[in-house]
């Protein structure tokens, strides 16, 4: 088990366009949760300390709320925000963008155990317990 996950993509658009698609609620609504039958209602105050609310609606009409607060914003490069859902609370998401000519490499890191100050020094020992888990399962 890891305490975080990383997802990476290379997108065929420049970083300014990707950044806009990740930060402008009107544009986010056009793709976020844009799966057959699903829809999303998105509201955000895109500034450090500002909050967002994403209500994702299933084809059956069930609503799944997601909320959070922006922690760090670097135009065209980085967005850090907290993430709460029905499943998790106070998790941290970091999206980084890297320009590759006319493409953009997007890296998302989702951390589920958010205590960065003390985590680093215990990482090695902690890895032991987690590899024990792998043996146990």
């Amino acid at each position: 088990m890891n305490q975080e996950l990383i997802v990476q993509r290379t997108l065929k658009a420049d970083s300014a366009r990707v950044f806009e698609a990740l930060s402008d609620a009107k544009i986010m609504t056009q793709w976020f949760f844009a799966h057959p039958g699903w829809s999303a209602n998105i509201e955000n105050k895109f500034e450090v300390g500002g909050s967002f609310a994403i209500n994702m609606k299933s084809p059956e009409g069930e609503v799944y709320p997601h909320t959070g607060e922006y922690r760090e914003i670097v135009p065209n490069e980085k967005i850090v925000f907290t993430w709460n859902s029905l499943a998790v609370k106070d998790t941290l998401v970091t999206i980084s963008l890297k320009s590759l000519e006319d493409q953009t490499e997007l890296t998302l890191k989702h951390e589920f155990i958010t205590d960065p100050d003390t985590f680093a020094s215990h990482k090695e020992g902690w890895g032991c317990v987690l590899s024990n888990l792998d043996d146990t399962l």
Binding site: V7, R17, K89, H110
Partner: protein, 112 residues
């Protein structure tokens, strides 16, 4: 697969979000220990250590067995499995979102 409720998952992540508690887990993962054994490793009071153990018990990560006045602690890995499951689901969730973003960027024209 045991189905964990939100509150339980939150308890698990909360329990893991403290260095001392992660350290306690590392110890009891290796061998069963009494609360006093655990407390001897730390420069803090027995009630303070007990409090951390209670948080771990609430998350289901530590199971306690009483023998008279002695409390034995051992680790249970099952909550870690549940936490791991949520993280895997979130990986699929973000992959889905970026599939949609990729399609959106390819279908729409740049604004400029």
């Amino acid at each position: 697969m045991v189905k964990y409720e939100t509150q339980e998952l939150d308890n698990i992540f909360h329990a893991l979000a403290h260095a001392t508690r992660r350290d306690i887990i590392l110890q009891v993962a290796q061998q069963e220990m009494t609360v006093n054994d655990i407390a001897n490793h730390y420069d803090m009071s027995l009630p303070a250590v007990s409090k951390h153990i209670k948080v771990l018990m609430k998350a289901g990560l530590v199971i306690q067995k009483r023998e008279g006045r002695v409390r034995h602690c051992r680790m249970d890995y099952q909550p870690l499995e549940a936490a791991s499951d949520v993280i895997q689901k979130y990986k699929a969730f973000w992959e889905d979102q970026f599939d949609a973003l990729e399609a959106f960027l390819e279908e729409t024209e740049p604004n400029s």
